[in-house]
Symmetry: none
Subunit: 215 residues, 4 copies
């Protein structure tokens, strides 16, 4: 296969800079992380979006957060059907193996996935309804959220659906027996956030997502 | 549902620090990112592992990388079966909608997912073979890689399998028609990397993964 | 000497966050603290352990607590032998110069120093008996406490020794003439606490440590 | 012994607030910290001064920093004489047992201990020269630093001596064989800081303390 290319030079250059500074000055820590394994305190599920990096917002360094990123920070319901569920695998590894103490679902404003879901569910994106659309089928996870926002004034629906992307995921997380057990035993706590890219603000779910407050 | 908790205070404190510095000093850029949408140059597929943050290694800022993170940085083969494929959705969105120019698959050493796959395929982890194991089923994607390393001396197998996790993913990427088309037209280039946590080094696949060289 | 390195970047980032928030919003107070000097109400002697920060537990702000932290929150007996006694110097400064009104000794559960002392005194850690072991020699301070717990059922000894680490220290504090005088004149009161990391509880010594009650 | 008193009510009240909030919301994390033990990334040696809390400045949570605090953040030279050396015990425990990757010595401006040392060394505090003065004997550790600043203009001497309190400690740290070995093998890096209480700034030693730069 002749399909792999060398990295663009600017990335090589930056990598060498990182190696000579951040790595060189902290090599003892990286060695310990390699030898002793990771012991992250929290798992974060956030969006692939290039504008939202949770490590920046929370000043996190190597070893702190176990991070799964997918389109629209969605978690599907528990489905032990023997199929490949990448998100479920990540949650299982974090909760059952690493035993993280926190699981944070962080959505964001201006989410392309959520906007696509809204267009699809409101009949404006037939191409996403096709069986072959991976984005469409993935956003099906959020359909129950659309049902809860579709009666709102139209200009509020997308914003509300961004919050539903967090709450639907948290509801689905609770359908995993190992998540439910860890939550009920007090070993794990769940957190729901939406980051506003434009304003730099952070909204936090309260009362099961019925209220959202600024952090 | 009463399952959402407030964030730990130390994360709130750090967030406010970010808001008052990184955000405040760059709010014009965040506003443009929000209003104009993202236009990332590259997609990165990397592992959830808390010790490997691609934004650090490549000094990436908001807006540069569209990042999908899952266990062991795996991409399943193209399967337009109407099921939920989170990784495929992320790839579709990045390549077909955002039209990124680079798609980088970055693996790493000391990967718990790869070690689990090796244990499973070599008969030492029967619990991962069970239908209900999400991690096991997810790591099935890497079975073809195990077949290629199982004849190596035993102490080289896991290291080789970490590289296979990258190459199997790149091979699977080429089964997606829109990826293949973009690669063949020259709009997209694929890159395979393995990051060594302990040494801080970066290995790059050459010649279709037959050779790996230090960057 | 070329032995000093720059701080890891994540600490620099977090520091700038603190400067832009906590400091910026309270700079008048920090200026007064700098210009007028400290006037703490209490001295706290607690352990170095990374899991026990007395400022968090008591919501303390800058200026409130004068804090000495050493292994196992120990105070040696008064020994004006001209040698270097860091703990005694801290106590002298707090009581004789700053004239704090409270002196709190706070131990904690799961203390590595106490566990080491128990192992040493019960003959299971010969390496700590060596003259060159700084931890061993430091834990010698707690030997009188071991004598008082060694007849208890074995599974209660370590827990009891954690409390003895507090009471031995308080007894030793009373051998300092300036402490004794301040206590007897009513200018200073002593307090003994043990913090349970797992349960988040706080136990308080009563009746000279003969009884411990939940706060 | 009737020398222990109940805590002042305001501290009890604050503690109950902490228990109902920070602890309650993070009890899973505290349980893990108790059951799995601490694995701090860094040791910090700082002053007892009530105005300087390193956990605040660096947004650190439970489990991150192993903290020794004494008068003027001093480390005596290695002296395996079988005496009680609390600071040496803390350093030994952090470096040899916990294997921290960073050791940060953080001094500060307006340090009463440093000012006392300057007064003593310049002949203005005969009471500190007495054998029975614990503060005086402790500050003897900084005498070599005074020798290096005594020729400076008088109004610069105390400020320079605050920096020497950091550098003398780092030099003394290097006399401990286990520190030296860890530094030379790259397992441990040393850092020297001075925090300016009034300005909220942070100065960092470069080039072995010959230059100090703002972080």
């Amino acid at each position: 296969m002749h399909n792999v290319h060398p990295l663009p030079q600017y990335l090589i250059t930056r990598y060498h800079g990182w190696k000579a500074t951040a790595y060189a000055e902290n090599s003892a820590w990286y060695r310990r992380l390699a030898d002793d394994g990771q012991r992250p305190r929290a798992m974060v599920i956030s969006c692939c979006d290039s504008r939202v990096h949770v490590t920046s917002i929370f000043g996190a360094d190597s070893g702190e957060f176990f991070i799964h990123r997918n389109i629209a920070n969605l978690v599907p319901p528990h489905a032990p059907d023997g199929q490949q569920h990448g998100t479920s695998a990540a949650v299982e590894y974090a909760v059952a193996s690493l035993r993280v103490a926190h699981l944070i679902v962080m959505g964001h404003t201006n989410c392309g996935g959520v906007a696509g879901c809204h267009a699809m569910c409101s009949g404006h994106a037939p191409e996403l309804e096709e069986k072959s659309s991976f984005v469409g089928r993935w956003m099906d996870i959020l359909r129950p959220g659309y049902e809860r926002v579709k009666e709102l004034p139209e200009d509020q629906q997308v914003r509300a659906l961004e919050r539903e992307a967090v709450m639907v995921s948290i509801e689905n997380l609770m359908t995993f027996p190992f998540v439910k057990a860890a939550v009920e035993s007090g070993e794990l706590s769940l957190h729901g956030l939406v980051h506003d890219i434009r304003e730099g603000t952070l909204w936090q779910a309260e009362n099961g997502g019925k209220r959202w407050v600024l952090v």
